[in-house]
């Protein structure tokens, strides 16, 4: 199966080729309209698409089976291994796909997955999701997770990936609904493998008066992209903070659309990117304020530090606005480490290499320390330091009184 070949067939043939049910016709049509990713696709213009569309893949589908009860939700190659008893987890069909997504792979993965993992959150709680990925050469794995929250609940999800994929393609993603008056904190902490290609394509619905706080921490030395579309209803809040650290020849980052549909909704999206070697960071992010989105407040910001001449930041914050009554801003900066800060550290006897690392850690810490849940923040500190130094190094960065 070569994904670029799907562009030329009709919707029914597409479903047949992918062994999908005819109930996915709408998704198939949406896919064909958007077409498989290529250099010409808006959503994939900065990404490496050859590993997606120009390779012959064998589609592997997760086998359905029973799972045990554990404190963490563990998903191995798309199969639920265990789940916490505090949430309801079901493997079932999902029909309420996002009809306006901008990403063809969002639809493709919904077509491939006849069933998805549906997590229903009925009370306020916190839990972890661990993905284990071990797909091998030429395998294409697709699986999806749906998170449904009940009105007025407050949940915190901390997601990690144990990524051991090798020359494979994983297309996954979440459909998350933050119900009316609910709060969802979603922290994702991903240290990608050196040779897999991963695309997560998500859809977030933030209902009336709900708050969705999204944190993404991505450490990549290969190709890994996250795309999401967030749709905000009246008085909804959407806060997204992204930290990206790339090295080698990675192309990685976030492609997003935040849609202000309801009145008085607020969004704030900021990204920090640390780019080393010959890697490319991507922040291709649109904020769209629709006619109905009066009194929107929308802010967007991107900062990048290039650690190497070969590194490159593709930063495209964009605002598309159809009304006057709003407050909006966006900005983007790319640069090197601050010379004055570096000198200050050196002048206290800290070697320049160490001083640079300290500044980079500081740059990252600004995002990590803004996570309300301190237990999760500690874990993210450790994961960033592991990705950056190779080991968790800093025994104490911020909570000195407690950890010293």
């Amino acid at each position: 199966m070569r994904l670029e070949n799907l562009n030329t067939v009709d919707a029914n043939t597409l479903l047949k080729e992918l062994n999908a049910s005819s109930s996915k016709l709408e998704e198939a049509e949406a896919f064909l309209k958007l077409k498989a990713p290529s250099k010409k696709s808006e959503a994939y213009r900065y990404f490496e698409t050859d590993c997606i569309v120009k390779k012959d893949y064998e589609i592997v589908t997760p086998k359905e089976s029973t799972f045990s009860s554990d404190k963490d939700l563990i998903i191995e190659n798309g199969k639920v291994v265990s789940a916490p008893s505090s949430v309801t987890v079901e493997i079932k069909e999902f029909t309420q796909t996002d009809k306006e997504h901008f990403d063809s792979l969002y639809y493709l993965s919904h077509i491939i997955c006849s069933k998805v993992i549906v997590i229903s959150i009925n009370e306020s709680l916190a839990f972890n999701i661990k993905h284990i990925l071990t797909t091998q050469k030429d395998q294409l794995l697709s699986y999806r997770v749906v998170v449904l929250t009940k009105a007025n609940t407050h949940s915190t999800i901390y997601e990690t990936i144990d990524d051991k994929t090798d020359q494979s393609l994983v297309i996954g993603g979440y459909d998350i609904t933050a119900a009316k008056d609910a709060t969802v904190n979603f922290v994702t902490d991903r240290n990608y493998s050196k040779s897999g290609c991963i695309v997560f394509s998500n859809s977030y619905r933030v209902e009336e008066n709900a708050t969705f706080n999204l944190y993404t921490f991505d450490y990549a030395s290969n190709n890994a992209l996250t795309l999401f579309r967030a749709q905000l209803q009246e008085r909804a809040n959407f806060n997204a903070k992204h930290l990206l650290y790339t090295r080698d020849k990675a192309k990685s980052g976030t492609v997003s659309q935040i849609i202000h549909r309801g009145q008085s909704s607020h969004s704030n999206q900021s990204t920090k990117n640390i780019l080393d070697d010959n890697s490319r960071g991507i922040f291709d992010a649109l904020i769209k304020v629709e006619n109905s989105g009066k009194y929107t407040v929308a802010h967007q910001n991107s900062k990048a530090i290039l650690l190497n001449e070969g590194a490159y930041m593709a930063s495209k914050p964009q605002l598309e606005i159809y009304i006057d009554d709003l407050e909006a801003s966006h900005g983007s900066t790319t640069g090197q480490l601050d010379k004055a800060q570096l000198l200050y550290l050196q002048s206290r006897g800290i070697k320049v290499e160490e001083a640079k690392k300290m500044l980079i850690l500081g740059f990252a810490n600004e995002i990590i320390d803004s996570i309300d849940n301190k237990e999760i923040a500690e874990k993210v500190h450790a994961s960033f330091e592991t990705a950056y130094y190779g080991t968790p190094k800093i025994e104490c960065m911020q909570t000195c009184d407690t950890c010293l």
Binding site: L343, L345, S347, R348, I350, F363, E366, M397, C400
Partner: protein, 251 residues
């Protein structure tokens, strides 16, 4: 004759295309307090930046020797490890870098350089707590990001805290007294006085005689237009206060 710790000889320094220091001569004696006064823009901060190896400055002539060796080519961190410390006129803010973590890294780098054992977290904190108390620093400042959002006076106190923790041998204080309230000036001055041990040398850059009521100077130097144009005892301060720097107008 007393020992010269730091000798600056015929120093010429450019910033950008502009010559700022124009053949400056100065010797710091062991255990002594040297004060530099001089008009705005004379080159006082440039001199201190040159001693610590700031990237702004380009040395085009002359030499600086510390304990007998030229340091012109040395990296800023190596000068610091060898015992040279400067408190910045305008300390930078470094968001995300925890003040305590930074200072412990710096202190242990210096200790390692001196062949001493590193301080563990508890030892370090114990030592630091005593000093922040003495300096009248707010406790929370040490767990915040380095200088971020600190008031002017808090930044200066933080510079002094670093000085006391690092125990340097040559201490350059660039307008440490500017922007300090009366209590802060006293706390900071007491901190500086505690560092006097008969061996450490001080280079105090100031515009005001106020701080000299606390820190008794041994020498007053006048820096004007890139050169030291006068050197005298503490009595010079009073005369400068009265007459300003007009007496040094080029003839």
């Amino acid at each position: 004759m007393s020992n010269k710790v730091l000798t600056i000889k015929d120093l010429k320094v450019k910033i950008g295309d502009k010559e700022i220091l124009k053949g400056l001569n100065l010797e710091l004696e062991e255990g002594k307090v040297h004060v530099i006064m001089g008009p705005n823009g004379a080159g006082k901060s440039t001199l201190s930046k040159t001693i610590v190896g700031h990237y702004d400055v380009e040395v085009t002539g002359g030499d600086i020797t510390y304990k007998g060796n030229s340091i012109i080519e040395a990296e800023p961190e190596d000068r610091a490890l060898e015992g040279i410390f400067m408190s910045f006129q305008h300390p930078v803010e470094i968001p995300g870098v925890n003040n305590t973590y930074f200072l412990r890294t710096a202190v242990n780098a210096r200790r390692t350089h001196l062949g001493q054992e590193e301080l563990n977290a508890a030892e370090f904190l114990k030592k630091m707590r005593v000093l922040i108390e003495e300096l009248g620093m707010k406790n929370e400042l040490i767990s915040r990001s380095l200088n971020e959002g600190f008031s002017g006076g808090e930044k200066k106190r933080n510079e002094i805290l670093q000085m006391m923790m690092l125990e340097p041998e040559v201490i350059i204080l660039d307008e440490i007294d500017s922007g300090l309230d009366i209590d802060a000036l006293r706390d900071v001055s007491e901190g500086i006085n505690k560092m006097k041990d008969g061996k450490r040398s001080f280079l105090v850059i100031t515009h005001y005689s106020r701080i000299l009521d606390y820190i008794k100077p041994d020498y007053i130097h006048v820096l004007k237009d890139g050169q030291i144009v006068d050197t005298a005892g503490p009595e010079l301060v009073e005369q400068l206060e009265k007459e300003g720097y007009a007496q040094y107008e080029e003839k």
